[in-house]
Assembly symmetry: C2
Homo-oligomer: 199 residues x 2
């Protein structure tokens, strides 16, 4: 295989995090399956062998990228705010934290949300997503038992709906755009827990 | 080009709606750009010329499919329920109607949500989607002026969040599955307008 653009030598080096970020941007632009290691190397103006100095394979880039998204989301459930206060307060903290992770790690979460289970790495990521959803559903159901969340909603469906709202941010939210991240997290928590209607 | 599987003759004929439905299923499975007219013909066990008896081009199939989704959504805003009662009641009717259209026309809405503006047909569809969003945002803002929707939310952001929730249904809702469509529409309206928290 030949690199599509000439390899420029003497450019400043990239660290692993930068290489990963650029690879993920490319995966999101043109699809993971359609992106080759040569494409990633070309985008970095590195030779393939220089890229292999950082990473063993395209699969490793994918695994690390998906872990970046998933460990962020799992960290929200493991944070002190997710285990202090009422189940409704913890749910608010989890939703707020999930929006913060999505905003902070937007390209990684975007990639995660496109995973369809085409490989062991993708299926492992889907299993972790599912485990995350189950922990949130358990929190919603606890809040229902405590009378804090209305019981005319199915806990699993409500969790899917609310994370459907959170995840839809990848379609339009752009850092530095007109919508402030903190304000966005507020609006997501406000609509999820209290709805649009005045009380 | 040669059809990838033999053309079986004497099969019962398809009407235009059936051909369109099968083409849309294929577009959703493997992507519109990656699907050829020959692929659609093969799925139907028709020759390409028999397919051209129904439709002029792949672009025409796309345009009709996107119109199926968009005219459904626009119909919700034009229905009597969307112009009777308070702005909050009309908003509830629009959300309920949008879920009903999504459930009824799931493959068409799925296709619409994947459109990225790669052609005139796609850009026209995106313009119609945007016009729909603007009409819903105007309704949210009217409800805010009437004191029926909380004014600490940005109307356009709230509309995006709530339609993010509605549109996320294409990721997991399946007709005939464990979640009833009418119940789902109830849950979407309930969470959007009144939130998960007990009042």
């Amino acid at each position: 295989m030949v690199d599509p653009i000439p390899v420029r030598r003497g450019r400043p080096g990239y660290d692993r995090a930068q290489v990963l970020a650029i690879a993920v941007a490319l995966f999101n632009e043109q699809g993971y399956d359609a992106t080759s290691v040569a494409d990633v190397a070309a985008r970095l103006s590195l030779s393939k062998s220089a890229l292999y100095h950082h990473f063993d394979s395209k699969e490793q880039l994918l695994a690390l990228a998906l872990d970046e998204a998933l460990s962020g989301l799992e960290g929200v459930l493991d944070a002190p705010a997710a285990s202090a206060g009422s189940a409704a307060e913890r749910l608010a903290a989890v939703l707020h934290g999930a929006v913060a992770v999505l905003v902070d790690r937007l390209p990684y979460v975007t990639l995660l949300l496109r995973v369809r289970g085409n490989s062991v790495i993708e299926r492992t990521a889907l299993d972790r997503r599912r485990a995350f959803d189950h922990r949130v559903t358990a929190l919603v159901e606890e809040a229902q038992r405590d009378g804090l969340v209305r019981d005319d909603l199915d806990g699993a469906v409500a969790t899917r709906l609310v994370f459907g709202m959170v995840n839809s941010l990848v379609e339009w939210y752009r850092p530095g755009g007109p919508v402030d991240a903190e304000r966005l997290a507020h609006d997501v928590v406000a609509v999820s827990l209290d709805g649009m209607r005045t009380r």
